[in-house]
Symmetry: D2
Subunit: 163 residues, 4 copies
């Protein structure tokens, strides 16, 4: 099975700039993480953009939808900032059919010691292979359908709107 991974930025790929003390984007860590996980799935990684999801424009969101629609693979993982992940999931649900699309992200940058990124990447890559076509969010070890999920900002976790 072949999986396409689209990178859009988010906390996942934030770096610490030791000159300014600020966080910024450089290259994605996904290939390094796949090596660390000894991942043997056929994965094709493409960076679409490197943005904070709060800064993602409508045009950029549309670009994510188009990339999913036109790519050859039927299994797609998208790394994405958590703040507007639900919004992008909605856009994908309206624009992509017949494919399994799983969005994932991280609460702590992978480059920092205690990131949930590697766990989430293993989770998203697995859900995308096992779930039927549809748009999902994989966070906190769980999968959510695009229309039954919200980010609980107070607790920093994703949860269902209704059980």
């Amino acid at each position: 099975m072949s999986v396409r991974v689209f990178v859009t930025g988010g906390t996942f790929d934030k770096e610490y700039d030791e000159r300014t003390g600020k966080l910024y984007f450089e290259e994605t860590h996904i290939p390094e993480m796949l090596r660390l996980g000894r991942c043997d799935v056929e994965v094709d990684v493409e960076t679409l953009m490197m943005v904070d999801s709060l800064d993602m424009t409508a045009a950029q969101r549309q670009r994510v939808v188009d990339a999913c629609r036109t790519c050859a693979q039927r299994c797609i993982v998208i790394t994405h900032g958590t703040d507007t992940m639900v919004e992008t999931a909605g856009a994908l649900a309206g624009g992509v059919t017949g494919k399994t699309v799983v969005l994932t992200g991280a609460m702590v940058p992978y480059a920092f010691g205690s990131s949930d990124g590697l766990f989430n990447l293993g989770s998203a890559l697995s859900f995308v292979q096992a779930l039927p076509p549809g748009v999902y969010i994989a966070m906190n070890g769980r999968s959510f359908t695009w229309d039954n999920v919200r980010k609980n900002r107070e607790e920093g976790v994703f949860e269902r709107l209704r059980e």
Copy 2:
């Protein structure tokens, strides 16, 4: 959904003994890894044994089967040494029905810097929720049914017997 995790040892949970320079078992790292992954799945972890899988006796293997058969949960993850993981999967297939059982492990101890453990745990926890009843191995980001998998010792990866 509620998941049972049975710990049996394996490379996953090896520690470095700084007095002897040898590897040994202490406590399992699974709870710490679940915290790191911000896992929000209801997980119930139980340590059955802490052994190298090459040292697992027939009686111990039977104990793993019995634990899976008698526990309340229908979704079970087992952490296990990779060397005899396939053998235990076969024993489980003969003894457990109506449940999804996923075995996973690691090539490098979690306590060491560059472990695949967190990736594999995220993967196993996701496959166990999404796959139909049966016995599986989750390694290298892939899932394998118990009767179509072998460990390729030369390359250090799991692979299908036939495609």
Copy 3:
């Protein structure tokens, strides 16, 4: 030999807030770092403040000087943000005599994967035991006397004003 460590904050002790995505201060990591280094020196750690060194006020700087002057130990290490470390070193030179005072810091927070903090702490603790009374900065594996050092912001290293 007994060493006093005064903590003032700086990059050393910055944390990543996974809710806001910003860096902040919590508790100092010095005791944890000393354990990691298997440090067997008698060390007495006290947190004076937790500030970015750019935000350190004249009153706070005076508090650092007073703490060094009045403490019982003759060997003192101060963890400090790098941006105004030289300024505080100058204040200490004017206010403390007969003691060896070594300021150190980090370019990357200890809590992140790739910090220079542990290296710098080992370095500062060693210089403070071996150098004669005076005020020094220990960064990049080197020691600098307080009146012959500047931070080269472009390259992110400390260097002598004159050789």
Copy 4:
């Protein structure tokens, strides 16, 4: 100031072999550790051998002494297994004069998460610049003269023979 670093192996540089589950030597991590510590000291690293110090032969020990005697630098750090570090220090004291030689090592391999190696390297590099000519061991944040030190195997620390 220019420092020579001679690598002889020891726990410092042990790796985990994920095929055999055993520890082994590959390349030294010293250059990577110096980069991590943003070390700006002029350092010239040379690997003399990669051995467990319990396996170091008399001929190999002599080679370490000769290397220290004949190298151009007056400041020398030696990375060494802890088990016979004191013995090598004695050999160096008999064979090298007019130079500051500091032996250091680690209780946990650098490649593992929780190593004391980076702390010890920062410590040894600092002591070697600040101490007068002689042969020393730098461990646990302390420096010991070659003839007043032993490894306390029960507690895993170095200590003075007499205070």
